[in-house]
Subunit: 341 residues, 4 copies
Amino acid sequence: MISFQSDYIQGAHPKILENLIKTNFEALSGYSTDKYCDSAKEKIKKSCNKSDAEVFFLVGGTQANQVVISTCLRNYQGVISAVTGHINAHEAGAVEYTGHKVLPLPNHKGKIDTNELNDFVETFYADDNHEHMVFPGMVYISHPTEYGTLYTKDELTKISEICKKYDMILFIDGARLGYGIMSNETDVTLEDIAKLCDVFYIGGTKVGALCGEAVVFTHNNAPNYFMTTVKQHGAMIAKGRLLGIQFDTLFTDNLYFEISKHAILMAEKLKKLFKDNGYKFFIDSPTNQQFIVLENAKMEELKKNVQFGFWEKYDDNHTVVRFATSWATTEEDINELSKYI
Amino acid sequence: MISFQSDYIQGAHPKILENLIKTNFEALSGYSTDKYCDSAKEKIKKSCNKSDAEVFFLVGGTQANQVVISTCLRNYQGVISAVTGHINAHEAGAVEYTGHKVLPLPNHKGKIDTNELNDFVETFYADDNHEHMVFPGMVYISHPTEYGTLYTKDELTKISEICKKYDMILFIDGARLGYGIMSNETDVTLEDIAKLCDVFYIGGTKVGALCGEAVVFTHNNAPNYFMTTVKQHGAMIAKGRLLGIQFDTLFTDNLYFEISKHAILMAEKLKKLFKDNGYKFFIDSPTNQQFIVLENAKMEELKKNVQFGFWEKYDDNHTVVRFATSWATTEEDINELSKYI
Amino acid sequence: MISFQSDYIQGAHPKILENLIKTNFEALSGYSTDKYCDSAKEKIKKSCNKSDAEVFFLVGGTQANQVVISTCLRNYQGVISAVTGHINAHEAGAVEYTGHKVLPLPNHKGKIDTNELNDFVETFYADDNHEHMVFPGMVYISHPTEYGTLYTKDELTKISEICKKYDMILFIDGARLGYGIMSNETDVTLEDIAKLCDVFYIGGTKVGALCGEAVVFTHNNAPNYFMTTVKQHGAMIAKGRLLGIQFDTLFTDNLYFEISKHAILMAEKLKKLFKDNGYKFFIDSPTNQQFIVLENAKMEELKKNVQFGFWEKYDDNHTVVRFATSWATTEEDINELSKYI
Amino acid sequence: MISFQSDYIQGAHPKILENLIKTNFEALSGYSTDKYCDSAKEKIKKSCNKSDAEVFFLVGGTQANQVVISTCLRNYQGVISAVTGHINAHEAGAVEYTGHKVLPLPNHKGKIDTNELNDFVETFYADDNHEHMVFPGMVYISHPTEYGTLYTKDELTKISEICKKYDMILFIDGARLGYGIMSNETDVTLEDIAKLCDVFYIGGTKVGALCGEAVVFTHNNAPNYFMTTVKQHGAMIAKGRLLGIQFDTLFTDNLYFEISKHAILMAEKLKKLFKDNGYKFFIDSPTNQQFIVLENAKMEELKKNVQFGFWEKYDDNHTVVRFATSWATTEEDINELSKYI
């Protein structure tokens, strides 16, 4: 059985395990104050070309979203997101749990539209009753989105401008950031991300780590006592080394980018395979997640040999399914897949 | 430089790393639904001799406290804790962040007193105005406590009875549970714990794991949709395997108990060393944390070769410091220490 | 200047003030434990024909929504509402502040559609990932809605059935309930409301009181220690008599229904006036709020002599405005209005 | 039966009812934007001699505490209070409900000690682990306290200085402020209060109003969009006139001070009565609440003719009870009382 179920089905990149072993008996201080965390932070800042950035390590994506959003917003503010955004749809209400509303905008293949964003905020402030409503204090986007799609540099720039105009924080969920940056169809670099938004995170969990997300405040704008708030959320781990060593490894010798590139290469092969065999795509995704429309009978047959994810019902006879590649996908996986489709 | 700074200064027990490597490329489902999590849960239930227990894995101790307490309490309830309890003193208000008050009782070397507990709750219900106050809905104790001390089986039984009498949940923080159970001076076993309380957790982070705490609801009493609440707290990790494999390893061939026993042995040696050299103990601790009263001059001298933790000021000339052993402490560490004291 | 700005622009019905004065120097116990609260509760239960109902008095509508929703929901649940529902649009995120998500359904003149409701919940439970999402635990509707519209008895019955099927609480916001029940175009009585939903409230603030909403749990289903939760929300007032005396007055000699009927009569006259003069209605409302489409020039002219509410932009040359009648609207107000339109 | 049960057992001062009637049919805008609110705010600012103060009206004391504290604190901060402070003991956890810890200091007849306050904060910042703890962000005191006692001007000045030194907000709960200011044994004026603290409130509910507390931010320091947060707490009322008219009345012709003075006069007479008859006082209170130690048999006998409040058990044969006077207490009440003691 081969699996394209998701990009978190295997453990960690071997170099990460190697470094965990190598450093295992070093006595290090806790709570991300160790030298590996320091080193990883410096490397990330350098990759971002942002000497005034501040980097923190958290364990997972929902946690990163929750901690960042609740820490950056004021009481009376909510966060704008595509209706399909992870925070709005698939985090069990983690943002609302912290007391803040998610303000949903229409979904365009996972993305928000810059004009709709501008209109939403403009209309809000034009409403005489807006002081009885939730203020838009932040824009949340994911890059790549939950549909594997990417914002263009032009779109990000426009969103950034709207945020500045209306004093909103721009927050980018980069749970799969590597796969976005290394896509063949993007003009957005890590430096662009770091330049255009106020805070974002570099996903580790889905890009080769056992766990971990590196939160980057891009311009000395981390909230006061951020680590205290992290603790308050139950999000601080005693052995911060686990996160530091992993990110230090990922940002040494371009590993993060190399393995992301590999996943993109595998995705392109997979895409070609389906295309060549006449399959229909639900969305034209330039990243590691591919959404295929399968006949239900075909889907059931395929399940016998291949694992993939259910996405949504297409019509009575068809289903949208997701195939995800990752740093761990092999040419053999693709070749094996070709036998069944 | 040798270090007795804490019990979380090294990585993981080598068998854990070994198993992480061995299983690294297996494609496993996410969110703790994999076979290693299943296996670990079964082993833990067996160790507890509780077939009707329900086990869940979380990443850290503050997180476990926060999720369990907020999920088990009703809106109008708070949790009773020693004033020195971790939730009251050192979690940055993680419990209050979820909307619940910590109701502090006096500290007796880290423990609460059973009579004071009973009086507190009795007085509460006797107060005509108690419906204007926070209801005691849970009792939180740590075993070992933050001072390394242990409850006797008799004390736990009494606390359990008071909880039943007043319809309160008994929750035991077992961040260092192994070191309590394997103490030479305890009559409390893991089975006793599982029998006497409603929910507890088995600490991994401080007992040989990279991270992870195993939360045990002892009698089919896990809150409905507990994992949804875990997600809502940002506490669910995609690669649940990281926790499952670690606990599966710790509960195979008694590893958890063996390495805890080792730490106790090292603590006893360390204790003897200080005693033989005429040092004064702040508390007579039967577990892996030892609290010594040092002359300030001696403390500064010692710091040059040994790492240990500041606990609190004793008087103008003395300081209480903490030496912690762990699964990773070696005879060599103890021998080296003997040179300096 | 005459005013149709809203239904809360005047003070209280004179009988209420009269009774406040009459009872002013009686020494009464606090926190809604006095005899007037008791009497009002009994009268309301009788009006509802529900001997097993439990009645509580709160100060305002947003408060009632917040307290009821947060008290009835479990941690992992959210509340379904029309996107235009007061809790979703105009309460500054009061529900989210308590940790719960509002799950929006499309708006049909302020109402939710029963089929869309059923589909939403059915789809939720059919989704393999629903344990990562917010569970629908309650349906919130307002009757009349924010657009003055009313559910039919058949619609309420269907919604009630869907709620029972999926174990959701049905909660009706009755901030303007009197104006709904006394509409000429409804088949829904107070008894129907009390029979079909789990909890609702009878609005006082907009129907003749200075403040106050009577929350009715319809079948001995008030959450445990509800008043403790009310206190916890800062929603309990010391002089509960202020609420008890007002509702006791409103539910004596059918006052609540009589003054609501009067407001409907005034609304019908106002409606006829606009219709006879060829004005266009935005919505055909059967209650005390009337939504008219005005040419912008006409609107500006009218503002010189009449107060009314801005609702929303219709097109570049037209605006939707709201005229509200109330228990305090007089024939003279209507006659005066006729001069200007 | 005469009653000294509390200071909220009667309705409102007759002048308040008179003005509610006089203004009843005026069409006023909602949400405290009416002219009576404006007028009341101006009068209060003038009484405080603070032209840069900002005044808001809320309904009750617990609500005022909750809204002010949660709005002023940052996520990582808690509020210092006497262990007996209303927010710590008798508000059902309203502060914790908003996510913030109450940090208790020892009680000295209801007051905190300035040295203990300074030590607490100094020790906090000296602790190496303080970033894992709740930061003290505010000091909450009540004046008069829950025991009827008062801070001296010197004490308030010291507390104010400590707050400034450690960047904490000083918040004074003035639920019974009138009775404090008009005490015969105080050197603290309303101007002093307004000068020394950052925010306080002037209690209406217990000083002649039906409900209402006037929150005063003393130096243009109201949090941004405070009214939006008020709404979010369910604390905004549609007919803000109810609060505006009451406070406008209370601050016209010194009514608030006159009726407070009257209550003090009655309290002095009551005190003398008990003293002359050899009763023992639990606390020497200079305000409207008097705490007497009664033999239990005497207490039961007295209950037949007089209402008073149970405070706490004194010993097996004695009980502490509370007698409260108010704006509404009459000489006749005192004379009547003299018959029974």
